[in-house]
Amino acid sequence: MASTAQWLSGMARTVDQHLDEETTENYSVGNLSARTVAQIEKHLLICQPCRQSVAASDAYVASMRQAAANLRKAERKAKRKVERRAGG
């Protein structure tokens, strides 16, 4: 496995190194630095396997985000109900 520095320097020029799962997910979530995003997006311009990974990861992250939001909403609703009962 290449170090971050090696990856950053070599990524844009070659297609024989691919994003690992964690980097792909972090890219989908959007918590990478601008510099890393730039390197990833340059690589994605020419790398089909990584584009497929990113597309799958985007779908997964979007689903988890929505599911987490629904769950949080349900938890808050349940909490308010309990509080109302306790208050009444």
């Binding site: 496995m1 396997p49 584009r51």
Partner: protein, 225 residues
């Protein structure tokens, strides 16, 4: 975030092509000279990547036109001599399509601001979601809900902080007293479960029956007698 702390690694794929030096200089020179083979090559190398980027950022509406516009801008810009160092072509292409995306978003915001229903004063929707896409998204959401609902409370909290509150892995580990490995394992287990459920659903749709539960032979024979 400090890049040195990121788990950014390369993964050598077994099926990955061997290192291919990309002759940007020759291609750029041909585009500058107006040789159609230069444009053909540019199109061949970047069209899918540009398409992917624009679709990811802007959605599938008018995608062909947007890709075409991007290529026109890139080619004109190269012909004008704006790209001084051909080896920076990929960064250059990315910059151009990023600007294009920003411009489309700006135009969409402006259009939405102006598209007001005169009777009700409400902003009109400019597009309907694709029904097929909507169905797939709903299925994925159902799977994600199942995954989150079956996890232990603590694991669920980790995922909710990461995906919903967009807290960094470092912050989550610090606040919840986890190691990086525990954090990764939690995420990876959830993802595996999501994939398993998705595959099972897909198999059912294709008509594969799940394996029958193993019967207790003794009790079955006792009932028969």
């Amino acid at each position: 975030m400090n890049p040195s702390t990121l788990a950014v690694n390369s993964v050598p794929h077994s099926e990955a092509p061997s290192e291919t030096p990309q002759p940007w200089a020759s291609m750029v020179e041909r585009i500058r000279a107006g040789d159609p083979s230069g444009m053909e090559e540019l199109y061949g190398v970047f069209t899918t990547g540009i398409r992917f980027y624009l679709c990811r950022q802007l959605g599938p509406q008018d995608l062909d036109d947007k890709v075409h516009d991007a290529f026109l801008t890139i080619a004109q810009s190269i012909r004008r001599g704006d790209l001084r160092e051909p080896e920076r072509l990929m960064g250059y292409v990315r910059t151009i399509i990023r600007r294009q995306v920003a411009s489309y978003i700006g135009a969409a915001v402006e259009a939405r601001r102006n598209w007001v229903d005169p009777e009700h004063g409400a902003v009109l929707r400019d597009r309907q979601p694709d029904p097929e896409r909507k169905a797939i998204d709903q299925q994925n959401l159902d799977l994600a809900m199942r995954v989150l609902n079956t996890l232990p409370r603590r694991d669920r909290e980790v995922l909710m902080r990461f995906y919903l509150q967009e807290q960094s892995p470092r912050q989550i580990c610090r606040d919840m007293g986890l190691t990086q490995t525990q954090f990764r394992l939690t995420k990876s287990r959830a993802k595996s479960r999501f994939t398993e459920l998705g595959q099972a659903r897909f198999a059912r749709r294709l008509g594969f029956k799940p394996p029958a539960p193993v019967r207790n032979v003794d009790s079955a024979s006792a009932k028969a007698s």
